[in-house]
């Protein structure tokens, strides 16, 4: 399922919050990632400049998307590629499944690609009797478990090395080990044989350069290189937003992508693929196809606030800093794209089933701060909340805003008189006391009930005195 219903999300997130082992794994992985990021950022004084440049280039590219896609298509065709524009997931799936069938391909290998997860390609291939093999180690692991990825960069982030060791023993009958080195060696050997026999390869695309028709694929393992160069037929799947104008634009993105995604200066392998192999060459496909996917993206383009989300380069950093993601993990979101950016794109790519996701945020802003292309994620989430509730309630945004403002004004009025504020605080704490349980308010009487519907508030403590603000200080 690309995205499923709201009730599921509340159930799954409630369950995930109780899963302390999951939180331990997420905390450890996220912390490790952020530590690496802090180091590489420190060592790279131009990081902020590169971010600004990347933001500017991407915003510009998105504003000229139609022209760039025409240019890209021309160049791809010049270099010998076949280009297919898919309006939605179903069209993209059908094109690829038909192609695999028409080639009579037996062994389909896949490099890591969130876009193919988005279009649910694997189940479609399986339904046609073809078993594609995910070759990114993390994807391979989750595929063996019959799951989807729980993070856009680290698909198996929710699993411990012991989980994976057990999985390998169960699936391959090999001796149990939880050593990452040994598990990796086992996967290498199995997948290498599959690569050498593969006749059909599929990968995603990180950037497509319009001026040359070059596809850029970024990875660490080498499975993207293998998937795109060993098989006779190769299909690259990209969203319409992946195009950038010029080769010279690329360095700005590459300089920031690896730093934020994995804390590396550059990923181990960056492949530049322009067309199928030339005569006499050993590497590259005989036939290369590029599937360019819309699937709801052009609708995002038409919304001036949402459009900014198409700048995303899928670095995954906003997941790692998100307090919600770190508590519940990727699977609880019930969408292929989890975390802050997932909460924005999912409702737009997968429809109203994921409309609840923009509410799964505290709007703390950590995502905005880390985003390498400076996407104002909280702002877009608020915008989506407004759009989502607009249909449901007569309450319109300006009215809601006015109510919030007047509330804030009243609060400010009271807060200016410390003694009154303390007194009111004490009264409120007393009144709320009967509703508290284990230090938390889980239920409140109307009209406050909406606050506690999906949130628990710490119980206010009457004896806890806030320090009185120093009065009459210059602001």
């Amino acid at each position: 399922m690309a995205a499923s219903a709201k009730g599921d999300f509340f159930d799954s997130s409630r369950a995930a919050v109780q899963d302390h082992e999951l939180q331990r794994k997420l905390e450890s992985a996220s912390t490790r990632h952020l530590d690496h990021f802090a180091i590489v950022k420190e060592e790279f004084p131009s990081y902020e400049d590169e971010k600004t440049a990347a933001h500017r280039i991407k915003t510009d590219a998105i504003a000229h998307l139609d022209e760039l896609l025409i240019q890209l298509t021309d160049k791809l065709q010049d270099s010998g590629c076949k280009v297919f524009f898919a309006e939605d997931a179903a069209e993209a799936r059908k094109y690829i499944v038909d192609l695999v069938k028409s080639k009579g391909a037996q062994h389909v290998v896949k490099g890591k690609s969130m876009t193919t997860e988005e279009i649910e390609l694997n189940p479609a291939l399986a339904a046609a009797g073809i078993d594609p093999v995910e070759t990114d180690l993390g994807e391979y692991i989750v595929q063996l478990r019959g799951e989807g990825p729980s993070h856009i960069i680290t698909p198996a982030i929710h699993l411990s090395k012991e989980d994976i060791g057990q999985l390998f023993t169960d699936k391959f009958g090999t001796e149990y080990t939880a050593e990452p080195e040994k598990l990796t060696a086992e996967a290498r050997e199995r997948l290498r044989a599959i690569f050498l026999a593969a006749d059909f390869g599929i990968t995603g695309v990180n950037f497509a350069i319009a001026e040359t028709g070059t596809l850029v694929v970024v990875e660490n393992e080498g499975n993207g290189r293998l998937s795109s160069s060993m098989p006779e037929t190769f299909v690259a799947v990209m969203g319409i937003e992946k195009v950038i104008p010029r080769l010279e634009d690329l360095s700005h993105f590459l300089e920031i992508l690896a730093r934020t995604a994995t804390g590396q200066k550059l990923t181990t392998y960056t492949s530049f693929i322009t067309g199928p192999r030339r005569e006499g060459e050993l590497d590259g496909p005989a036939e290369m196809h590029v599937v360019i996917l819309d699937n709801g993206r052009s609708a995002m383009l038409a919304d001036p606030v949402l459009r900014e989300a198409l700048n995303c380069i899928r670095c995954g950093a906003c997941l790692n800093v998100c307090p919600i993601y770190r508590r519940i993990g990727g699977h609880a979101y019930k969408s292929v794209y989890p975390g802050p950016i997932g909460s924005i794109v999912s409702p737009n790519l997968f429809g109203s089933a994921a409309g609840y996701l923009p509410f799964a945020s505290t709007l703390c802003g950590a995502c905005k701060d880390i985003c390498p292309v400076k996407i104002d994620i909280p702002r877009i989430l608020l915008h989506l909340r407004w759009k989502e509730t607009e249909g449901e309630h007569p309450l319109k945004w300006p009215a809601a805003l006015e109510r919030a403002r007047s509330g804030a004004r009243r609060f400010a009025g009271i807060a200016r008189h410390p003694r009154t504020a303390r007194l009111l605080g004490k009264i409120a704490a007393q009144m709320l006391k009967p509703f508290a349980h284990n230090g938390y308010l889980r239920w409140m009487p109307p009209p406050f009930g909406n606050w506690t519907k999906y949130r628990n508030f710490p119980r206010p403590h009457p004896q806890k005195r806030r320090p009185a603000p120093a009065e009459n200080q210059a602001p």
């Binding site: 450890s28 490790r32 400049d49 440049a53 500017r56 998105i62 504003a63 998307l65 139609d66 298509t73 524009f85 309006e87 990114d136 180690l137 993390g138 692991i141 680290t154 198996a156 699993l159 990452p180 598990l183 990796t184 996967a187 290498r188 290498r192 690569f195 050498l196 350069i209 070059t214 660490n220 393992e221 080498g222 499975n223 290189r225 160069s229 060993m230 360095s251 700005h252 590459l254 300089e255 590396q264 200066k265 550059l266 181990t268 392998y269 960056t270 492949s271 322009t274 005569e279 060459e281 050993l282 590497d283 590259g284 819309d294 052009s298 383009l301 038409a302 919304d303 001036p304 900014e308």
Partner: protein
């Protein structure tokens, strides 16, 4: 391609509906100026040292900065050190790979030479490259700031050389080492980029998919060795 026109038309309409992105000055501001490294004398050695240091930081192994006469012997030594029996080797960019291949053969290593292949010979050639314990290739460029090597794949220098063998040795001329990625992309230019497959290689193949712990050699080479060579006339 009827679909393409339809989707492009949708995109165009969407762009018009969305208007100019707010808070964005549309006049294409020039990209921040990039200095292209002037590589002369001591600065070259400095760039090469930085390349070596950065590559080692990501698990690569720096063999040394060698004169052209030393290269063959050092490679024979390296092949022995890693216990290779078969070595895959292609054509150089500017280095004489024939000489290196001959030296390896004299030292009793089996050599797989990558030559242009017809479609039917592909699988066989690939298996032979994959069975080599060491693949030798020359990079077009080195990138000092990130420890990266840019290899361009051709009929005689396939990308497989740096991908399939258990270990990889990449050689780069010292005057091809540039300060950063932008300088390399600028020097390469769009026309040449579009002619062949290019790969930027920064260290041996690696993964961090199991509890974010770094393991080298998941699909590609488990080890990456680097030799920097002085030009013949210096």
């Amino acid at each position: 391609m009827a679909e393409a026109h339809k989707i492009l038309a949708t995109i165009k309409t969407a762009l018009e509906a969305g208007g100019q992105p707010d808070g964005h000055n549309h006049a294409a501001a020039p990209a921040p100026a990039r200095k292209v490294a002037v590589t002369a004398g001591a600065e070259r050695a400095e760039l090469a040292t930085s390349l070596a240091r950065e590559l080692e930081a990501v698990g690569g192994k720096f063999v040394g900065i060698l004169s052209p006469d030393e290269v063959s012997n050092r490679i024979v030594l390296l092949a022995r050190e890693i216990g290779a029996t078969t070595v895959a080797i292609g054509e150089g960019v500017s280095i004489d790979m024939e000489e290196i291949g001959a030296a390896l053969e004299r030292a009793d290593f089996k050599i797989v030479k990558t030559v242009p292949v017809a479609d039917v010979e592909r699988a066989a050639m690939r298996d032979r490259v994959a069975n080599a314990e060491l693949g030798i290739a020359e990079a077009e460029y080195g990138i000092a700031s990130t420890g990266t090597l840019a290899v361009i794949s051709t009929g005689t220098r396939p990308s497989s050389l740096t991908l399939l063998p258990t270990a990889s040795l990449i050689i780069v001329q010292i005057d091809r080492v540039m300060a950063d990625l932008a300088a390399v992309l600028a020097s390469l230019g769009p026309t040449r980029l579009a002619e062949h497959r290019m790969t930027l290689i920064t260290g041996p193949s690696r993964t961090a998919d199991i509890e974010k712990r770094i393991v080298l050699g998941v699909h590609g080479p488990k080890a990456l060795h680097l030799i920097v060579v002085w030009p013949r006339d210096e």
